[in-house]
């Protein structure tokens, strides 16, 4: 009884502190309600515009969040290197596009072929890399304390970031990297715009329709690809033998062994699928945001990790939902509040979820494992 009361008092106190902080730093961070109201009233269509941007960015976050959530679901490890696998995906696709001459191609058909090829390669590289990381950095730590594997994950993250840093300096490989060195942000050419222009079409799919909104070919591609991948993953996990084995291992490892499931194999597959999704997200994000940077995986990784926690880590539908919610939050914060504070808001969400609903929106309360 007393314990429950203490918990209640603690929650009330935390709520007060959070409200105080929001009120205090909120206006600095652009949390200015009358001003926001005025903006919305002046241009309601803008709200829809931010919605579109939020959904597209959220789709990319969702795809990455799936990798976090699947791996956590199966071995209860937060794979902190996952965001950097995504970064490697961006660089892989950029390098493939450069090596195949797609970056300089004029013919739209040729660009489309190059993009498909880059997508396949970055999925393969992401999948292989993530499975390799599991094999060398996590497998032997599976039965040690969780902290050990977590520290190993952070180490892998540093290694990948440094690989990215070196990679971005290899101008002989990708002339586009220029002479500014590996640490600077690189541009990822807007190939989709080029394709549209090649066919004599407007990049904005809503141009000439009378609707005063921008719905780019980029938005469309990202949303369609994300929908295809999410549906595919869902069907795979629900219906295939391997998918069912993945769920079984996540729910009870010993029982799965007894039934003849090769645990190592299933865990490798899970990492490969997560890595493949991150690789695909790399190409999608490159085409959408038109940048490549060695450190981009850290930020996006934390954001999609937040998305996974928000949706309920371990829960695939939750990961997708969380990704879209964080994408929308970021887009509205960029638009109506203050872009510099967007990340702060994302982490406010993370802190609030961890404090008040650690199991996330769709997560189930799972007892401690015996």
């Amino acid at each position: 009884m007393g314990k429950a009361n203490n918990l209640k008092i603690r929650n009330v106190l935390i709520t007060i502190v959070v409200i105080y902080i929001v009120l205090l730093i909120g206006p600095i961070a652009g949390f200015d309600i009358p001003n926001i109201y005025a903006q919305v009233a002046a241009n309601p269509l803008q709200l829809v515009q931010f919605l579109i941007i939020g959904l597209a960015n959220g789709a990319i976050l969702s795809i990455i969040a799936l990798g976090y959530t699947m791996v956590y679901g199966i071995i209860e490890l937060v794979n902190f290197a996952h965001g950097d696998v995504y970064m490697i995906g961006v660089f892989t696709s950029l390098t493939v596009l450069s090596l195949t001459g797609t970056l300089d191609a004029k013919d739209p058909g040729r660009i489309i072929l190059g993009l498909i090829f880059a997508l396949v390669i970055s999925i393969a590289v992401g999948a292989g890399l993530n499975a390799f990381i599991e094999r060398v950095a996590y497998r032997r730590l599976r039965n040690s304390s969780r902290l050990a594997a977590l520290i190993s994950a952070i180490g892998v993250s540093f290694i990948l970031e440094n690989i990215g840093l070196i990679w971005a300096g290899q101008t002989w490989l990708v002339p586009l990297f220029g002479t500014t060195g590996g640490a600077s942000q690189k541009s990822f050419p807007d190939l989709l715009g080029k394709i549209m222009a090649g066919y004599g079409l407007n990049v904005n799919l809503l141009a000439n329709t009378g609707i005063k909104l921008t719905f780019n070919i980029k938005d469309a591609l990202v949303l369609v690809l994300a929908a295809v991948m999410m549906t595919g993953l869902r069907l795979f996990v629900q219906n295939t033998k391997t998918g069912k084995a993945m769920r079984a291992v996540a729910q009870n490892r010993d029982a799965s062994k007894m039934l003849g499931i090769d645990i190592d194999n299933v865990i490798s597959t899970t990492f490969a699928i997560g890595g493949g999704l991150a690789g695909a997200a790399g190409l999608m994000a490159g085409l959408y945001n038109n940048t490549a940077w060695w450190f981009m995986g850290f930020r996006v990784g934390l954001e999609s990790f937040t998305a996974a926690v928000l949706g309920g880590i371990g829960n695939i539908t939750g990961g997708m939902l969380g990704g879209f919610l964080i994408g929308l939050l970021a887009s509205f914060s960029d638009g109506y509040l203050n872009a510099r504070w967007t990340h702060a808001w994302v982490f406010v969400i993370l802190v609030l979820v961890l404090l008040f609903r650690p199991s996330g929106l769709l997560g189930e309360h799972v007892g401690e494992k015996a």
Binding site: K241, Q251, D254, A255, K257, M258, L259, E364
Partner: protein, 235 residues
């Protein structure tokens, strides 16, 4: 058919099995009885390959089971309904049963066995779409046994099938064990309810702190003074 010879198993530094030797012949029901912590579950986990024996051998006919990785033991006809049931709580009853047949690929045979276990446990047919975690304790026990049967095992390991069940359900479970055995499945049964176990088993072993202290036919064990005093509650 299944033979353990001088098996020693450790949990870290704890010497849990101190030289277990036992034998299960084709078509038998053999029971392992003993009090809490005697090593009954450890014996089953060792047979299944979840624990590796430090020395000794476990043979299924001529195959050395203790040398196989745990997931391959299942493919050689050993299935288990484990302690605590270990069903998959977020999978439907149907999916749980499908997982039971994971190591098999004969579609027709799997279909037949599905029909067989659902006839054996009609309650599961009623609950076929429900999530495993929403079943009652008795139903979960049925599901664990049915899932093990889906592997069409040569030898079925049952760990405390009566644990936590109402007496009427215990009777039902034991009747089912007998009928499974009559259909040709060899059974190694671990039980705390020694009276029930001895009433259906052909032979029994008595386990105490990791060692087998007695082994005999069920009838003889039931009449043994030591067993009566320690395990059957006869004063």
């Amino acid at each position: 058919m299944l033979e353990l010879k001088d098996v020693h198993t450790y949990y870290g530094n704890i010497h849990a099995l101190k030289g277990i030797s036992l034998k299960v012949n084709d078509g038998e029901i053999v029971t392992l009885i003993g009090s809490n912590g005697a090593g009954k579950t450890t014996t089953l986990r060792t047979i299944q390959g979840l624990l590796k024996p430090r020395s000794g051998s476990i043979k299924l006919d001529d195959l050395e089971l203790h040398k196989l990785p745990s997931h391959q033991v299942a493919t050689h006809g050993i299935a288990q309904s484990p302690e605590g049931r270990m069903i998959f709580p977020r999978m439907s009853v149907m999916e749980n049963l499908e997982m039971g047949a994971y190591a098999r690929s004969d579609k027709d045979g799997i279909g037949k066995d599905l029909d067989r276990v659902l006839t054996l446990f009609p309650r599961l047919r009623e609950r076929i779409k429900q999530k495993g975690g929403t079943l009652s304790g008795g139903e979960q026990q049925m599901l664990a046994m049915a899932r093990a049967l889906m592997a069409r095992p040569r030898i079925l390991l049952l760990d405390e099938p009566s644990m936590g069940l109402a007496p009427i359900l215990v009777d039902l479970i034991f009747e089912t064990i007998v009928s499974i055995n009559k259909e040709g499945t060899t059974i190694l049964l671990v039980e705390q309810n020694a009276l029930m176990a001895l009433s259906i088993a052909n032979r029994g072993y008595v386990l105490q702190t990791g060692e087998i202290i007695l082994s005999d036919t069920s009838d003889n064990l039931r009449n043994n003074d030591e067993v009566q005093k320690s395990y059957l509650g006869v004063v």
